[in-house]
Symmetry: C2
Subunit: 190 residues, 2 copies
């Protein structure tokens, strides 16, 4: 077997996800994943620290990416504009794996207590990064923390609705629509 | 030592919190807590499952209490009114321990990764209970999930501001003021 494996990372992700669905996340082992992908465990560990990280790979870069996006946004933009433009800008690349992969990933995460906690921690880290980004833009602390919470809410609820839809509308549609719904809720006239 | 200990529960909580601050949460042991409180470990385990639960005691009842409050709220109230009245109604009793205890508790939780995760899980469970409460009131799913997120945001940010203040304003003031600030943020004119 050659050391270089075309698309090894994607094959491992796909094999892992299939296995998590079939036998459950807790029961799945790395040798089972690599056998299904036709790759070695050495290859697996070159790409992922453990089986859990297959589901969260790449997300450790998100806070730094958010910080850069927010620092680069024009100074005159108000927080909601920064949020919506920022979410739209990451949406394209973040979900390149496609909706089917994301839907299955969500189901796997919801099936396991430890994975749900990992997902909550991820959103909390993201919220902290956004809050700090607003503080760095000179926004007061209260507005910064509330804007960060709003961003994470629109992000997670918007993604959920994008995954749930029967049609084929882009994520940007659901980000915008979720913000409108949130405005109605907070205005007290839902 | 008699089996009945006046205020055993409060003495254990106070001793545990002092010890967590002095030696760190991870290092503190149940025998150290009970020695400081002048009580036995048997007494400790009659009140708490482990040292962590000293910080989260009573909160397992919160979802059921939220469900009851929401079911009892007048049918004509819109979600924001249900949220604000609900938070005000639990505020009085939830923080009977006082602000000093709550401030120290917050510092201990922020110092430990596992405790931060436990706190996130608590807020997530609370959010689920509120969402379900709105669905049971006949609110559509999107409004229900967003209202629940708004409630948890106002709740956690409002408590943080109540703890941070130099003055002596009631929690209800910060709940209301945080909602106003959130309205400004979502309206896009902060």
């Amino acid at each position: 077997m050659s050391r270089w494996q075309p698309n090894a990372r994607d094959r491992l992700k796909q094999a892992a996800l299939e296995l998590f669905v079939e036998v459950g996340f807790a029961e799945a082992t790395v040798p089972q994943i690599t056998a299904r992908a036709g790759l070695t465990t050495r290859t697996f560990f070159r790409h992922f620290a453990d089986k859990r990280e297959v589901l969260f790979a790449g997300e450790e870069e998100l806070p730094a990416r958010v910080a850069k996006l927010m620092a680069d946004a024009p100074a005159h933009l108000d927080p909601m504009a920064v949020i919506v433009e920022g979410l739209n800008s990451v949406a394209d690349t973040l979900f390149a794996g496609g909706r089917d992969f994301m839907r299955t990933r969500r189901a796997v995460i919801q099936s396991d207590e430890g994975l749900r906690e990992r997902e909550l921690r991820k959103l909390s880290t993201l919220s902290d990064a956004i809050r700090q980004g607003f503080v760095d833009r000179g926004v007061d602390e209260l507005t910064a923390v509330l804007s960060a919470q709003v961003a994470v809410t629109i992000f997670s609820v918007g993604i959920g609705r994008w995954l749930d839809q029967d049609g084929d509308l882009p994520l940007t549609h659901f980000v915008r629509d979720t913000l409108d719904a949130l405005r109605s809720v907070t205005a007290g006239r839902p």
